[in-house]
């Protein structure tokens, strides 16, 4: 009897030690992860002089914060226009990606067809070619499609949107990701739906998509982020400065002629540009975290 109480105590103590250890580990890891982000914020509020001090200033007192860096950053490029463009392009490419990805992942995970594995392998293998190789040919394709305007007709906003978003309306990376999730959904759900007279199409949208919601939300965030960070392609396919995206603004506004970069203003601009992404992430986070109840359906 006494012994069992002792064991109980020991195991409780072990549990607490384990908990403390887990939290310690998570906090330590969070600090490691946060350093660059902290650096970004710190840089954005430093004056040019504080920026060049050695050793670098680790903690900047509030009274030395230069918030006007943000003001200058906003003035350096037409960010509002860039933001609008980026939001539109993100929206178009994300909606496109979600649709094409869901359909393709469904076919790869649920339907049986000739050459499925071969096709999937071809898709995977095309991820192995460096992106720049695609850019060169795709530029010519987009140009041949007439979306860049011609020598006499300048590019329209619609054309620019097409050129900016269409090539990114699908992604093998996400098809693969969603396929993995879809494959975890047990077959019984499909049979049950079939017996109820549910078409494949309806089953996909009413059953599979809601169950795979965390994955799809993740894809939405990743895809929006991709558009937000896109640089090379938007620069290549837009002829009008007003058609460009935020990262173009970030890159061009601070590329001074002597090659020296005004880091503090650039970081301020980067923070401004990052903010919408963070908000989207905060809003959608709970959907990722909620996860799926899997009681009653075992994979």
């Amino acid at each position: 009897m006494e012994n069992s109480i002792k064991i109980d105590k020991v195991s409780r103590r072990n549990k607490i030690i384990a908990k403390v250890f887990v939290y310690f580990f998570l906090v330590l890891f969070a600090v490691i992860i946060l350093i660059p982000f902290y650096w970004m914020v710190l840089t954005s509020v430093k004056s040019m002089q504080d920026l060049t001090v050695t050793p670098p200033i680790l903690f900047l007192p509030f009274d030395r914060w230069r918030l006007d860096n943000f003001q200058s950053a906003l003035n350096a490029a037409p960010y509002l226009i860039f933001m609008r463009n980026t939001v539109i392009v993100s929206f178009l490419s994300t909606v496109g990606t979600i649709f094409t990805t869901i359909f393709a992942a469904f076919a790869f995970s649920r339907l049986n067809f000739k050459g499925r594995d071969t096709l999937f392998m071809i898709l995977l293998s095309s991820m192995m070619i460096p992106g720049e190789m695609f850019v060169i040919t795709n530029f010519i394709t987009v140009s041949d499609l007439g979306w860049l305007g011609s020598n006499n007709v300048s590019q329209t906003y619609g054309d620019a949107l097409k050129a900016l978003s269409l090539p990114f309306m699908t992604s093998i990376f996400y098809i693969f990701f969603l396929r993995q999730t879809f494959r975890q959904i047990p077959n019984e759900l499909y049979y049950a739906a079939k017996v109820d007279g549910t078409s494949d199409f309806k089953y996909l949208w009413r059953i599979m998509v809601p169950i795979a919601k965390p994955t799809i939300i993740t894809i939405i965030i990743l895809n929006a982020m991709g558009t937000w960070n896109a640089y090379i392609w938007p620069n290549l396919v837009t002829d009008n400065v007003n058609f460009r995206l935020v990262t173009n603004g970030l890159r061009t506004a601070y590329n001074q002629l002597s090659g020296q970069v005004i880091y503090n203003e650039q970081m301020a601009a980067a923070l401004i540009v990052t903010l919408p992404l963070l908000i989207v992430f905060f809003l959608l986070k709970k959907y990722i975290m909620r996860g799926v109840s899997r009681s009653g359906i075992k994979g």
């Binding site: 001090v53 350096a76 392998m121 140009s143 020598n151 300048s154 620069n235 400065v241 173009n248 001074q256």
Partner: protein
């Protein structure tokens, strides 16, 4: 896997058959026609450059002036952000057949475009009675740079030119009673003697005497001063040359005596921050970057808000006087109509006119491309050391130092074979850095440079 292979083979076959590429030998160089009169129709021209917010506003003002002069010409000026982006975009647009009408660029860019006959010779425009310009008014070395291509043809016009200058910590130099001229270059040998006094960790001393921002410029320009070989227009790499090697050995000695440093000494790309901090007492960099070398009130560093002087860059005693000329030129693309070409030419002519080039130079820190630009009343007033506009003091001193070097201007040959002139340039810089970091001896650095470029 077998299926995959078959698929790939058949697709590449389709591509072959679709004939989107043709075999060499079918292109024809279009003759350039200079229209006698500017057509009345609406002419839209697109101009690609790389200027950010500030400079592109100045440029747009000049363009607005131009559009007022020629009401039927509309100029769309587009910034491509950086030279790298501009060039890669231009290359793609040439291949896709969707180019702008005119664009800025470095000679090695134009050499690359010429592989596709994508820019037109400007001689007919230059020499045209109605539309022409007096080429002798342009700085000679700029004209040479822009006519270095096959057959001595002018494929571009000088536009935003700059050069290098030397900024020094006048407070320190005054302490030792050393006076440097704003217009007379010092010699490397003189720098060595200054170093014996200035280098150290005393109160009025720096760790190094002089920093050279661009190691590639140092390599190329110094080999010229030593009368050494570098490259030629055919694209041969000639750095394994006695004079070049002796230059490198000399520089290696300067590194050892802490007379000369490269920014990598502080893990930086530019030495200005360390100049301001007082780690180094002199720094050599682009005339366009002067603002970064001026200590502001409350400057944190060994010397606080010290005084700054500006001088031409050092030369070799008894050597060939030489200074790098840098900065972009401007060219007209071939995929254009005669009217567009004429309109583009008129824009170039406007942007390089004496008034425009002087104004651009004053506003941006570039240098005028014409002698008449230098001589214009406006620019002379800007140069007048007796009446500095206090706000423009350093810009003015920079311009004086630069002006003093006009006769020494040199360019390095541009080519775009498998190895391009910019590849050689990059390797030259890396070779010098390796010597500085003591990871390679001079001989090893040269051998490695050649190995990296010729294979």
């Amino acid at each position: 896997m077998k299926k995959l292979l078959v698929f790939m083979l058949s697709l590449s076959l389709v591509l072959t058959l679709s004939g989107c590429y043709s075999k060499t030998g079918e292109t024809e160089t279009e003759g350039v026609v200079v229209l006698a009169e500017l057509p009345d129709e609406e002419i839209n021209i697109t101009f690609w450059h790389i200027y950010g917010q500030g400079k592109s506003e100045l440029l747009d003002a000049l363009i607005a002036e131009f559009e007022e002069m020629y009401p039927n010409i509309t100029v769309e000026s587009i910034s491509q952000g950086s030279y790298t982006d501009l060039k890669s975009k231009a290359i793609s647009s040439i291949s896709a057949g969707n180019t702008p009408d005119l664009l800025v660029g470095y000679p090695d860019h134009f050499a690359e475009y010429l592989n596709g006959n994508a820019i037109i010779p400007l001689d007919l425009f230059i020499n045209d009675e109605t539309w022409g310009v007096d080429l002798t008014d342009f700085i000679d070395s700029y004209v040479e740079e822009n006519s270095q291509y096959e057959g001595g043809v002018m494929y571009s016009m000088p536009y935003s030119k700059s050069t290098e200058m030397m900024v020094y910590n006048k407070t320190v130099f005054d302490h030792y009673g050393i006076t440097l001229s704003n217009t007379e270059p010092v010699t490397w040998e003189e720098l060595e003697t200054y170093a014996t006094q200035i280098v150290g960790d005393g109160e009025f001393q720096c760790d190094y005497l002089v920093n050279y921002d661009s190691s590639a410029n140092l390599f190329i320009n110094a080999s010229r001063q030593w009368d050494g070989q570098y490259t030629n227009t055919a694209g041969e790499v000639l750095v394994d040359d006695a004079n070049t090697v002796s230059m490198l050995n000399y520089m290696s000695g300067l590194f050892d005596s802490k007379t000369l440093a490269l920014p990598i000494a502080w893990d930086e790309s530019y030495g200005s921050a360390n100049f301001l901090k007082g780690d180094v007492c002199m720094t050599i960099g682009s005339t366009a970057g002067i603002a970064y070398n001026i200590p502001l009130p409350g400057n944190v560093g060994k010397f606080g808000q010290f005084e700054v002087g500006i001088a031409p860059i050092p030369q070799k005693e008894g050597g060939v006087n030489s200074v790098m000329q840098q900065g972009p030129n401007i060219a007209i693309m071939s995929d254009t109509t005669d009217a567009e070409r004429l309109a583009s030419w008129l824009l170039i002519k406007h942007l390089t006119s004496a008034e425009a080039t002087a104004q651009w130079a004053i506003d941006t820190g570039y240098l005028p491309v014409r002698y008449s630009g230098y001589e214009s009343a406006e620019y002379q007033a800007f140069l007048d050391t007796a009446n500095y506009d206090p706000d423009w003091k350093y810009q003015s001193m920079t311009a004086n130092a630069a002006y003093a070097q006009v006769d020494f201007f040199q360019y390095d040959p541009a080519f775009a074979n498998r190895v391009t002139s910019s590849d050689v340039r990059d390797e030259a810089g890396l070779a010098l850095e390796a010597i500085f970091a003591k990871t390679k001896t001079v001989q090893e650095a040269i051998a490695n440079m050649i190995a990296q470029l010729v294979w």
